[in-house]
């Protein structure tokens, strides 16, 4: 009886279904105060004064400013440039300046109206172009947070021998993660002085690291606990370190528990977004459409502080050339500073931006060389033995071809290309129809040597009363972590799924298994859980015990715990010797393995309103092994729907560097009505170093809809739009411009 490969029900499903799960706003803490944040109303400048209205009952409030911070005024992440509270300098709209807490939530908000901040405003830098031109230096002397260069072969030679050279420029903008639960955090100080926070999060140990610096306390005096979390999508990767720092400072100063829970109107404009990007391609091809050279230039908008921009750019850079073999490649990339709220982690993490560009560029190449884009992809895609832009030789688990061929066949792509071309010639039809294709790869786990630096630990424990618990800091954020871990541990140990539990992520009890990001939870942390379970199994085997019945577990508990309440089997990540990566030259094995996906979008455009209606999305995705097929399919459907939003609807409107449509009324994500029917096929090309062959699935489905839908819209409307989202307004404008040229 095996668990892996079975669609077991979610461990936390019944609690969530019955409304029993406690999100942070559901937790009542005796004597708790409500914290609120005073934020900057300018995008760039200095704070001259902060005036508190006289006569207002300030004695009822706890106030915290930068001066109160006992340790460093810093949100510790990669660089140390972002303050927890703006001190004198304001770098972006909605930057936190001051914190207030009051027992009554409405009164806490009310107080914000009675504080006046005087600024001296400076001319801001709001666009990537102005930042690159160093209209003002916001970060070091050139505004560049990070740059990368990948070089393979000799691109000059590649272009010299080209039959065709095709150039294109592609653009994408911000996207909001739109988790259903806003950011929220509670904090209190234990009698022994331990600063404790509990709340909505993806990465307990990121918060732990940040709080250590803010308070200047030893690691064991900081405790971070995850509460039930209503979605993350990257939006709760780094931002919770900020709100946790705020809640903890207020609690520490108030000597009472404090809770900060944002409402949507605060969360959306103030927290991180997907990085906007401009990607330029210049491609050399021979007469058969074989790639000879790719010269790619990527610019991303990091916002006001470095946050995770360097790693977002890294992943974007490593995916920029697409899943295609090309002998000569150059990718140049940089992420720059602007006076806008920092952009950050979002499902896909830089890859949806650059994959949109390379995949739509395939359509441009197809038009230029007059070879259809399907044939172009077939001629160039990665196979086992292919070499990537970083020189990585793909020795196994390359499902690009299977994913592509299945999707093309199942969707009737080739037939529809012809049918729709003829439909579109009929002026009497009320719609134009289009079909579009994309093929992507997505590296699972941290980039390059990231997993080595993380050196993650995870484990399996048995308590004296015979409970088996997975120990990991990987959070359940709706994606199925708990269920998947239990399945992997159950099979490795040889016990039924129901016997395994998962300890709640709490830094007091679980080891640092790294952040819950980068499609790494199954492949990397799941692999550690498997090894920990095997270690326990081996320890039992030495004693001649195999777990067959519940009484065997009781025996095991006695045997392994002895006189202790719990026995933990903790293992640490070990880099496979054959994976080699050089951070300095960006050469080598960028990722242990890649997952692959192809998608065909079948849509029509209303000739009266230019609204796009997707009739069907067909996709096949190679994820190595679906540990839980239903959950994996759910990830694919959900990620694809989020990609549909990115492609068609989701448009953050910025004015003077601030998002002005920061509520769900006007930030348009797809409803069930806007989400098309999907035909999902899971392809399993096992990865020998993943648990049971598994690779990552979390981010992969986010990459495919943008380019496929753009290709289909361009096909249908007879235009060439190279920017997302494909709003009806943009389609109309392109049609008018195209007709103007004819």
């Amino acid at each position: 009886m095996t668990s892996v490969g079975v669609s077991h029900r979610r461990k936390e499903g019944p609690e969530k279904l019955c409304g029993l799960a406690k999100y942070i706003d559901d937790l009542s803490l005796p004597g708790c105060l409500h914290g609120v944040t005073l934020r900057s109303t300018i995008n760039c400048g200095t704070i001259k004064s902060i005036d508190f209205e006289t006569g207002f009952p300030w004695q009822e409030y706890v106030r915290v400013s930068a001066m109160d911070i006992p340790g460093r005024n810093l949100v510790a992440l990669i660089e140390e440039d972002q303050p927890l509270l703006a001190d004198r300098k304001v770098m972006h709209p909605h930057e936190p300046i001051l914190l207030l807490a009051h027992p009554d939530r409405a009164k806490a908000y009310e107080a914000l109206k009675h504080i006046r901040v005087q600024y001296e405003a400076l001319e801001p830098v709001l666009t990537m172009e102005d930042s690159l031109a160093v209209k003002r230096a916001l970060y070091k002397e050139n505004n560049v947070f990070k740059s990368f260069l990948i070089e393979k072969g000799d691109i000059v030679k590649g272009f010299e021998s080209a039959r065709y050279t095709v150039e294109g420029e592609y653009r994408v903008w911000h996207q909001e993660q739109a988790y259903i639960e806003n950011n929220g955090m509670a904090a209190w100080v234990e009698p022994d002085g331990t600063v404790t926070v509990q709340g909505s999060m993806q990465c307990p140990y990121y918060i732990h690291k940040a709080l250590v610096k803010i308070f200047g306390l030893p690691e064991e005096k900081i405790r971070v606990i995850q509460s039930a979390t209503g979605g993350g999508f990257g939006g709760k990767e780094e931002y919770p370190s900020m709100i946790a720092g705020h809640a903890a400072l207020l609690a520490w100063k108030a000597k009472k528990p404090v809770k900060i829970v944002y409402d949507r109107a605060e969360d959306m404009p103030a927290t991180t977004k997907r990085h906007p990007a401009i990607v330029r391609h210049k491609t050399a091809l021979d007469k058969n459409g074989k790639l000879l050279a790719q010269d790619i230039d990527v610019v991303m908008d990091g916002g006001a502080y470095a946050t995770l921009s360097s790693v977002v750019l890294s992943r974007g850079t490593l995916h920029a050339a697409g899943p295609y073999e090309c002998p000569n490649v150059r990718v140049r990339s940089r992420v720059v500073a602007t006076n806008t709220p920092p952009n950050g982690a979002f499902r896909g993490f830089g890859a949806p931006q650059t994959l949109f560009a390379v995949e739509l560029h395939m359509e441009k190449i197809a038009r230029a060389v007059k070879i259809d884009s399907l044939t172009l992809r077939r001629r160039n895609l990665w196979k086992e033995g292919s070499t990537t832009a970083t020189g990585q030789v793909l020795s196994e688990s390359v499902g690009a071809c299977e994913a592509l061929e299945h999707t093309v066949k199942k969707s009737g792509y080739v037939r529809k290309v012809k049918e729709y071309a003829s439909w579109n010639r009929n002026a009497k039809k009320k719609t134009w129809k289009g079909v579009g294709l994309s093929l992507v790869h997505h590296g699972a786990g941290f980039t390059g040597s990231g997993e080595v630096y993380l050196a993650s630990k995870a484990g399996l424990s048995i308590t004296e009363d015979g409970r088996l618990q997975v120990l990991a800091a990987s959070t359940e954020i709706g994606q199925g972590t708990n269920t998947m871990f239990s399945q992997i541990a159950a099979d490795a140990l040889g016990v039924p799924f129901d016997w395994v539990e998962v300890e709640n992520p709490d830094t007091k009890f679980v080891p640092n298994s790294g952040p819950t990001v980068a499609s790494r939870t199954t492949m990397v942390v799941g692999g550690l859980v498997r090894r920990a379970a095997l270690a326990m199994k081996e320890a039992l085997a030495k004693e001649g015990l195999v777990l067959k019945t519940p009484s065997d577990v009781k025996k095991a508990a006695k045997l392994l715990c002895g006189s202790e309440p719990i026995r933990r089997f903790i293992v640490q990540y070990e880099k496979p010797a054959e994976i080699v990566w050089d951070d300095a030259t960006y050469k080598g094995d960028a990722y242990g393995a890649y997952a692959y996906a192809a998608l065909v979008a079948d849509l029509e455009i209303d000739k009266t309103t230019f609204e796009v209606k997707i009739n069907k999305l067909t996709t096949a995705q190679d994820i190595g092994k679906a540990v839980n097929p239903l959950l994996a399919e759910g990830q694919i459907i959900g990620g694809t729907a989020q990609g549909v939003g990115y492609a068609l609807l989701e448009h953050c409107v910025y004015k003077d560097g601030a998002m002005v449509n920061g509520q769900f009324t006007n930030y348009i994500i797809p409803t069930a009505m806007d989400t098309p029917a999907m035909d999902v096929k899971i392809v399993e090309k096992p990865y020998s170093r993943g648990p049971f062959g598994a690779k990552g699935v979390g981010e992969l489905p986010m990459d495919t809809p943008g380019p496929a839908i753009a290709a289909a819209v361009n096909f249908a409307a007879g235009v060439w739009i190279t920017e997302l989202p494909l709003l009806p307004e943009r389609i109309l404008k392109a049609i008018n411009e195209t007709q103007g040229q004819r």
């Binding site: 009554d104 939530r105 409405a106 009164k107 908000y109 009310e110 409402d263 109107a265 009320k430 000739k607 009266t608 309103t609 230019f610 609204e611 609807l649 409107v653 002005v660 449509n661 769900f664 009324t665 006007n666 348009i668 797809p670 409803t671 069930a672 009505m673 806007d674 009806p728 307004e729 109309l732 404008k733």
Partner: protein
Amino acid sequence: MRGAPETMAVLRPKSGAEAVKLYGQQTKAVPLAGGTDFMVLWNLGLLNGRTILDLSGVRDWRKIAAARTGVLVGSLATHAEIGRHPTVRAEFPLLVSACATIGAAQIQNRGTLGGNIANASPAGDTFPSLLVYEAVVRTVSPRGKRKLPISEVFAGVKRTTLGPGELIEAVELPFLDKRPSRRLFRKVGTRLAQAISKTVAAGILRLGKGGVVEDFRFALGSMAPTAVRLTEAESAVVGFKLTPAVVDEACRRLERSVSPIDDIRSTREYRLEVSRNILRSFLEGNQ
């Protein structure tokens, strides 16, 4: 949630007469009908410290009554109730279609026609239909009762011509003399549900002998500070046959009645062109 209920005083009239009396005494009170717009303001804390006139106890104003000359829709009838009413369904299908596009089921179950009108959003989805049906709004205030054509109710963005202490009691929908040959309701929103209109259109057209247009009424929402009838375009059509030249002229005149803007939901260019397309396909008979 920034609403602080303890800072609000709530008045709970049990009848229309009592509501008028209380509102007359406290004209700054905020009337609460279905609450679908009210709760947005509540959530942002914008109603803290205000007096609320809760109309939920005024049962008389919830009725929908069919009479010989038309239907009288109580101001507190919900969009769902209007959409279900057999006479409204038979005689005022454009209003039924409009009610079915407001928010989604939950909003339609709470939101009221009177609340929708009093809120006076430029994007109010029922307004083009009400304009086409030439609805009459019945109001009541301490100064007495009034009847206003719907076209005279809206004064601007979120502003009405209602005076202090004046409440909407009901909306009269007069039956059309003759059945229209064509009718149209079309909402172009930001997505397929839970959407605010970029443009919203309602129209009826009746052809007489020899294809001459006897009646043509067309109204648009989200295209000006208030929903508007396209009187200029209408006059280019009524009394004429629908020749290409007449259709072109009507489409050309559309712009004279509207003043669309670029905002966070759409652009002037898009609103104009799509509204024109909708009008054109309606007049050409191929919507």
